[in-house]
Amino acid sequence: MKIQIKNGRVIDPKNNIDQQLDVYIAAGKIVGLGTCPADFTANQSLDASGLIVCPGLVDLSARLREPGDEYKASLVSELQAAVAGGITSLACQPDTDPVLDEPGLVEMLKHKAKQLQLAHVYPLGALTRQLHGKVLSEMGELREAGCVGFSQANIAISDTQVLWRAMEYAATFGYTLFLHAEEPFLAKDGVAHDGEVASRLGLKGIPSAAEVIALASILRIAEETGAKLHISRLSTAEGVAMIRNAKLKGLNISCDVSANNLHLTEHDLAYFDANCHLKPPLRTQRDQDALRAGLKDGTIDAICSDHTPVQDDAKLAPFAEAEVGATGLELLLALSLKWAEQEKLDLRQALKHVTQASAQILGIAAGDLSINSDADICIFDAATYWQVSPGALKSQGKNSPFTGLELAGKVKTTLVRGVVVYQS
């Protein structure tokens, strides 16, 4: 199968390309950019006039809810959502039921995902068994089964000795740890940022110090052990400053921010909007400003969707009882574009944080349009606005704090390994 994508504006942050070029695809690979390879006759041509052609997006944190929580979402529904959002590769969190702490489960998940021929799934294995923070998982076995790194999802390891050993062990073999920084005792029972809004609404707070203290421990232990570390979903201004310092010191560390925290603050809780019950919590304007600045200056490497589909019913409860999470896969592109537009950055800079940077963090060959790479491609219309609404989303999770908002950036076509897997 040979495909020619015609007349599109090709943007590839990694290869520093932003110009109108035709893309030539053969046998699932990109074989030409701008110049037609010899003997190339397209079986199919896609007209991308007026559209952007970019690498398929790479998401660092999604929940697919399989195995175990299929009533919330399924692999099929969420991978369809991913490609509808232009995402062709994603890392999924291990907090499934059962937890992704056994190679067999990881293999099964990879196998099922592969059969669907939608987005590529890169599981993050559980760092500790059952995510209990006590016994290390069989990282070597899990790695062989296909895990690209190890995570504790939202569950912190409270025992710093276990955390230390986990980092030492992972460092021995060069595995990357994906950690979310939250000190569990300070965050206990908290449902919102511990500040003005939580005080007014009478919600139990999660202080910024919960992130700062956990981050201080994690960074210090990473320094001692030489572990390769990725900090997931940073939420505080102090956290950004700490990552900046750690990078200056030369630590092997990367970091992402959720699209939610990039665009929303505690004030978006308004009158107890359960769609804003998120982890990490939405924090202050000052925190949001710092996260945005950090993303701009490279302290924060990537934007993730933090896709966490929940059932509608699970949000039909008073704020604290409503389940944590929001849908995100289909919003990642548009919210990244919105950030860049607000910060007056060009499309190349907008896309870098959801393609090249995230692929590099996962250590996967994706996120660029180099010749001979897999033809994982997203074609989108940067100018068309669409309204976020349950009906507009393929994901089984329909809850979003952005519901009702009009966003620019509509995916037209998504290709995975040279096959059209989504077309609007």
């Binding site: 007014r200 009478g202 919600l203 009158y271 107890f272 039909l316 009882e321």
Partner: protein, 322 residues
């Protein structure tokens, strides 16, 4: 974002919190309550304002006092009253709340008085009821207890009519108190120029000063020259733990005694939302003393709750205004 408490004409649709209500509605409630105070002293303690209406007291959290006063208020307005204690221990609470509400609406309830242990529960219910149903928040978690805030201001106004010239201190567990939040919003909205909170740091919420209050940790300094002292109840489970070392030490530092009250103005009044922990947050000599207005609070509470119900139902009972 629409104010969920007001209809498109700016009239009161639900009473969920004091915050977000315009001053004029607060005055409307208090002035209406004035006209109801006398009813209790009549031989027939009833007016027909809510005749034919069904008021449903829906208590997901136990309460005797508040439920009773709401019951009495509704009955004095001639409403039919149902009181339900709904256990909130069932597994999927969200479904339970809405299912319960739907069932009661199917039975033609017109007004819900709701108490729930979770902040935001009344807002949640108000969001899901049809337009002709009214919701009154009778306490949601730590968030709000608007009728308590209103009756406190009503009581203060009875003894100190010039609200624009008052110094008020709220003492105790502000962190966990929906009463404190409602009092603060009511007082600041109605123009009281100086509202103080007095508590140890463990019992104050983050950035409490952003609610418009002055923060004190010392009783003597905090009570100095105040006109009104509003005490808060300290829950049993918080008397000894990581918040406070012991009830005895709390009483010693923050319990209102005659000696500490002497720092306030000589004619200062003392309020407490009840039920009181004598010897913990308040000494009996003060609770029963001549400066205490704790029992009048209870009496006025009924008038204020009648006023809220009458105003909410007002749109539908044409020609029967008091």
């Amino acid at each position: 974002m629409n104010n969920p408490q007001l209809d498109s004409d700016g009239r009161l649709r639900h009473l969920l919190s004091i915050e977000g209500l315009p001053k004029k509605i607060l005055y409307q409630i208090l002035d209406t309550a004035e006209s109801f105070v006398g009813i209790a002293e009549r031989e027939v303690k009833k007016v027909p304002l809510l005749r034919g209406k069904t008021v449903c007291n829906l208590f997901f959290e136990n309460s005797t006092r508040t439920r009773t006063t709401f019951e009495i208020a509704a009955k004095r307005l001639s409403a039919d009253v149902i009181s339900l204690n709904v256990s909130s221990s069932s597994q999927s609470k969200g479904e339970t709340i809405l299912d319960t509400i739907d069932n009661l609406i199917a039975m033609h309830a017109d007004m819900f008085v709701v108490r729930h242990a979770q902040s935001g529960a009344a807002h949640f219910i108000a969001k899901h009821v049809p337009e002709h149903i009214h919701v009154i928040n009778a306490g949601d978690g730590r968030h709000s207890h608007p009728t308590q805030g209103l009756l406190d201001v009503f009581t203060i106004r009875k003894y100190k009519p010039d609200l624009h010239n008052l110094r008020v201190a709220i003492v105790g567990d502000v962190l966990h108190s929906r009463v404190a939040r409602s009092e603060i919003h009511a007082l600041t909205t109605m123009g009281v120029p100086e509202v103080r909170v007095i508590a140890p740091k463990t019992l104050l919420p983050a950035q409490v000063e952003k609610l418009g209050v002055h923060v004190f940790h010392d009783m003597k300094a905090g009570l100095k020259d105040v006109d009104v002292v509003m005490m808060l109840r300290l829950q049993n489970e918080r008397m000894s733990g990581a918040m406070l070392p012991s009830a005895q030490e709390y009483f010693k530092t923050y319990g209102l005694t005659e000696e500490k009250l002497a720092y306030a103005k000589a004619d200062a009044i003392v309020l407490h939302p009840g039920p009181m922990n004598r010897g913990v947050e308040i000494d009996s000599s003060v609770a029963d003393g001549k400066q205490s207005v704790i029992l009048p609070q209870v009496t006025y509470g009924i008038a204020v709750r009648m006023a809220v119900m009458a105003i909410l139902a007002g749109g539908q009972i044409a020609g029967s205004q008091p």
